[in-house]
Amino acid sequence: MSDISLIISYIRPDKLNEVKAALSEVGAPSLTVSRVSGRGSQPATTNQYRGEEYTVDLHEKVKIECVVADTPVSDVVGAIEASAHTGEPGDGKIFVLPVEEATQIRTGKTGTDAV
């Protein structure tokens, strides 16, 4: 098991602020956020264009990447899960991946020091 973990989560866009606050509370304030679209358990919605309906099954989500070394992964996952939860389909998912190596560009530090 690697010392460094990458936690990728896909959440509802309107939960971003709550998740950011929760992550800084558990000591993992550094993150990267992207606007993404994806398909999961959230039901497709129907839009219309000039009287024709079409199905939109790619929903707007926010992807958060969070790399931690010293902070327990379970704390981070728990914080995201609790703060992004609504109970409705479409709340999102969290994945944890091992990280082989890390380098901080400014200082040249590697390993857990870089995180």
């Binding site: 309107d14 398909r39 999961g40 839009n47 079409y54 099954d57």
Partner: protein, 463 residues
């Protein structure tokens, strides 16, 4: 040859062509409002803002034709002891083609007042309730105001009940208060009654900005509006040629006064907002400058023929300087989520610019004159009367709309955006569908959840 021409026919022809031209310019304020408001909302609400703006104009002209214009005449007669009330003559324009140009001239002003409201209530108001408010605005709330203030009959004119007491009529040339303050105050009251957008204020009540999705649209809309405003202000000087005792007189001085004050008021409003925003926030801010430009225009809209050129600069400058602090007061103290700042741009700027007219009075030769204490009192009374009517009439209209339709969309609908929840569309569709209908892919949500993906097998526990 010239002696055979009827000077009054020439004057009438030229003046009516001018009036129609400025009406088309004023109509061009509609795309200005549509852009300005679209730019200041989130991308998920753009289609809804556009729907509201189109409804303001299209439904508004129908309502204003069937009833609104007649309401103006009726209210004017009811509040003026010198004018007998005649319901028949109030509606006479409907079957009189020679009255249509005049009706259209009134209509473009009415629809300007109506379309201001949508900017204040954007992002959370139910479309059905908004349609009801448009009808109320164009049938009664707005028409009553030109009824009491314009055309020589009505409460605030020299012939009206208040005008006779003070011996002077209310000065609001092109509608800084009659049009803009009505729209701005109605918007403020509407925004208060609908309540702030979700997330606009945090749990402790502090303001959290919800930035608009396009500064480009907002600023271009502002400049479109400024273009149309020349029709609004300069066009209200509707007499280009006057037929006097058999000869024609070009009204160059009157036209010059209004075009100069319109231009200087706009410039001063924008520059003042630039200076205030730079000193308040550290850097000059384009949205404040755009708002200041419009506030400067609103402030001089009632004043353009009545004040000196430097009066136009001062009025526009005051309104532009007050844009930022007044907006902060509305948000931070009143806790009202006025999305596009319509109260500060159209409401307070119109009131201030109109009340101060007598302090900067101009003579026919361009010199300075104080217009008198009675005129000053009349200006304050006029603003109070128009403001009071607008606040209470708007409360009634939104109250009825609330009872019939409900004012707000649900939290979920607001979150997903009014484009999808109210209209089933997306203003900026990100992905085009590869098939029109579901193809039957089920993801891990279980039975009944269908997507259109294009894969044919159930891939199980996907992301």
């Amino acid at each position: 040859m010239l002696l055979q021409l009827d000077p009054s026919a020439i004057a009438s022809g030229v003046n009516n062509v001018w009036i129609l031209t400025v009406c088309f310019l004023i109509f061009f304020m509609q795309p200005g409002f549509a852009l300005l408001e679209s730019g200041q909302v989130r991308a998920k609400n753009v289609g809804n803002v556009l729907m509201k703006n189109m409804t303001d104009w299209t439904l508004g002209v129908l309502v204003f034709f069937i009833i609104g214009s007649a309401v103006s005449a009726i209210v004017g007669a009811l509040t003026d002891p010198t004018t007998p009330l005649s319901i028949g003559s109030a509606f006479a324009y409907i079957n009189d083609p020679t009255a249509y140009v005049g009706w259209f001239f009134g209509a473009v002003f009415a629809m300007t007042a109506a379309t201001i409201v949508s900017g204040a209530v954007a992002g959370r108001m139910k479309f059905s309730a908004y349609v009801f408010v448009v009808v109320a605005m164009t049938a009664i709330i707005y028409p009553a105001m030109p009824g009491i203030a314009w055309g020589g009959t009505g409460l605030l004119t020299g012939n009206g009940f208040i005008g006779q007491i003070l011996g002077t009529g209310y000065l609001d040339f092109a509608g800084a208060t009659v049009v803009h303050m009505v729209g701005g105050l109605a918007g403020l009251v509407g925004a208060k009654m609908v309540g702030p957008r979700r997330g606009r204020f945090d749990s402790s009540g502090d303001s959290t900005p919800i930035p608009g999705h396009s500064m480009l649209l907002a600023v271009l809309g502002t400049l479109f509006l400024a273009f149309g405003w020349y029709g609004f202000n300069v066009g209200t000087q509707a007499t280009v040629l006057a037929a006097e005792s058999g000869s024609l007189a070009f009204q160059g001085g009157a036209l010059g006064q209004v075009v100069m004050n319109t231009t200087l008021g706009m410039g001063a409003g924008a520059v003042a907002a630039m200076i205030v925003s730079a000193s308040w926030q550290g850097k000059p801010d384009p949205l404040w400058v755009a708002n200041g430009l419009l506030a400067g225009l609103v402030a001089v809209t009632g004043a353009v023929p009545h004040v000196t050129w430097w009066g136009g600069v001062i009025l526009g400058g005051i309104a532009g300087a007050l844009v930022l602090p007044t907006y902060r007061w509305v948000v931070d103290s009143l806790k009202i989520d006025d999305v596009c700042g319509v109260f500060v741009v159209h409401g307070s700027a119109g009131a201030i610019g109109t009340i101060l007219i007598p302090l900067f009075g101009v003579t026919a030769s361009g010199g300075y004159t104080f217009l008198g204490v009675n005129q000053l009192v009349m200006q304050v009374v006029g603003v109070l009367v128009i403001g009071t009517w607008t606040v209470f009439a708007t409360i009634a209209a939104f109250g009825i709309a609330d009872a019939i339709f409900g004012l707000r969309v649900s939290e979920q609908e607001e979150e997903v955006g009014l484009d999808e929840s109210e209209h089933g569309i997306s203003a900026y569709p990100e992905f085009v569908p590869n098939e029109r209908r579901d193809s039957g892919v089920a993801t891990d949500g279980g039975a009944g959840i269908q997507t259109d993906g294009g894969a044919t097998e159930n891939t199980g526990d996907q992301k």
